[in-house]
Subunit: 165 residues, 4 copies
């Protein structure tokens, strides 16, 4: 796998600034995570923006699409805030020959018990096995981009069909 | 995805017993991990054995194969010690219609910075996207069972045909 | 040691609410921390308020002092935000026969690598050995309340008279 | 506080060697811990030995005593395995003008939820407040060396008098 990673901000990259008693989107954590897991494959990281996904604009999504189209790698991993993840995924449909997986985290990677590294793992496993197209992986599940929503009330991702289980 | 999980022991489940100044294979951690990640899909867990993978016998591998054949689920995740993982994978080839992914950890799940939850993530992503067959996922990579070895010296998994790194 | 713990909020108790893309002061973490460390001594926990310490008023400090005076225990541990910790300590001077130690955290207890549990440890060690009075412990150091300031620029606590480093 | 730290091995420094499917006493973790907590005071670290405390001999204890006597610092922190900690403490009695605190961990510092950093915190707090003498701090309590035992069955430290609470 030759992998291109596009980071856009979101909860996964949130850190805590005590000086301001605030937290903000920090440096992308993905490279450090992959290295600490002993990942052997080549990858490139591109920090497209550092935003909460609720603040992403159409122009931001255009930029993300251009990055995904432009890169020479066939496999593209996008780390993203959870609230606007489905919308960005929709804006990425129809790129020929690319397997694109979006993921993020419900708890910042800096937290004990964060889902960040688990979700990154899911994304990597899916990227290497899936046919070209756009996917989201969260909560251990792989969703086609046309069959997923964030359930805000339950704070988790679900398939559009099959609300049970 | 309907998932059956077979646990066999190995480093991933190692805990530390201070009373004996020793560590041993403990209860399988996989269920707790999946629940803490908010996994929504149904799964069953079967603890087949609790062994270091160097101690696994042909009979043990026969038992694991029978479990993988017998379960009604199409997707099978096997947590396993890393030293004998490839050998067990070889013993699982040729089960019709099943997607089987083996994974484990180089550091116990109880350790800070363990690769356990990352590897479980990779396995889940691969299980949902891969065609039937037997795979190993470690170090962020997905390997077909006939194209993987553990590099003991470097303590990592690699493709037999070596694409760089 | 019979210990009374007064929690007031601050960074140590901050958690992250993804639903609101925000973090706020959550339930006090101190009881859970002490239990997980196998603490054997009796203690009581009183949640006096849940505030950033920059928001603490004179009335809040009066309440904290009354709690410290009223409790029957001789040893009092106060978890507190770092910005107003010195000021609250000043407001606690002169309570007869009580050993009072204030501490908190520069990173929320929920973070990997947080200083919360280390600081709580320092406070407990000091409480059992110090003569009655008011102290702050942060960054591994024990300060008398009249000889400490928070260095905002360096985000750490220091003695007023500076002994090196 | 001018602090001298003597490390002797024990659970606190245990790491896991996957290559050997074994764990062993690794490099002392104390320096890294103190730095990560932003400790500002000067300290020196001396690795006296790397042993399980059950393997410590009278000669080892003589060496530890000599180190504690020889160092110019008044405050001495000793990290130690838990099983022989009381015995080593007994061998350190009667050193004029030194405050000596022994501590260790019931779970290796490398583990999630380890008590290592909490215990180190307790030791530092006690060192700065206690009168000269020999102490043990474990499970959040500070014990004079003549009033402590390890309860092997319950895997915790207790005062000799007062087995209740």
């Amino acid at each position: 796998m030759n992998l291109h990673i596009i980071t856009t901000g979101g909860t996964i990259d949130k850190i805590y600034f005590d000086a301001k008693s605030d937290y903000q989107v920090g440096d992308p954590v993905i490279g450090e995570l992959l290295d600490s897991m002993g990942a052997q494959f080549p990858y490139t990281v591109e920090s497209a923006m550092r935003k909460d996904s609720l603040e992403l604009t159409d122009d931001d999504r255009k930029l993300i699409r251009e990055s995904a189209e432009r890169c020479t790698e066939q496999h593209v991993l996008i780390t993203h805030g959870t609230d606007g993840m489905v919308q960005t995924g929709q804006a990425l449909k129809g790129i020929e020959g690319k397997t694109i997986v979006l993921t993020g985290a419900l708890q910042p990677a800096a937290f004990k018990g964060s889902d960040a590294i688990f979700n990154i793992g899911c994304a990597l496993g899916a990227l290497q096995a899936a046919t070209p197209g756009v996917y989201i992986t969260m909560n251990g599940q792989l969703f086609g981009i046309d069959n997923v929503r964030k359930n805000l009330e339950r704070n988790r991702f679900e398939a559009l069909e099959n609300h049970g289980s």
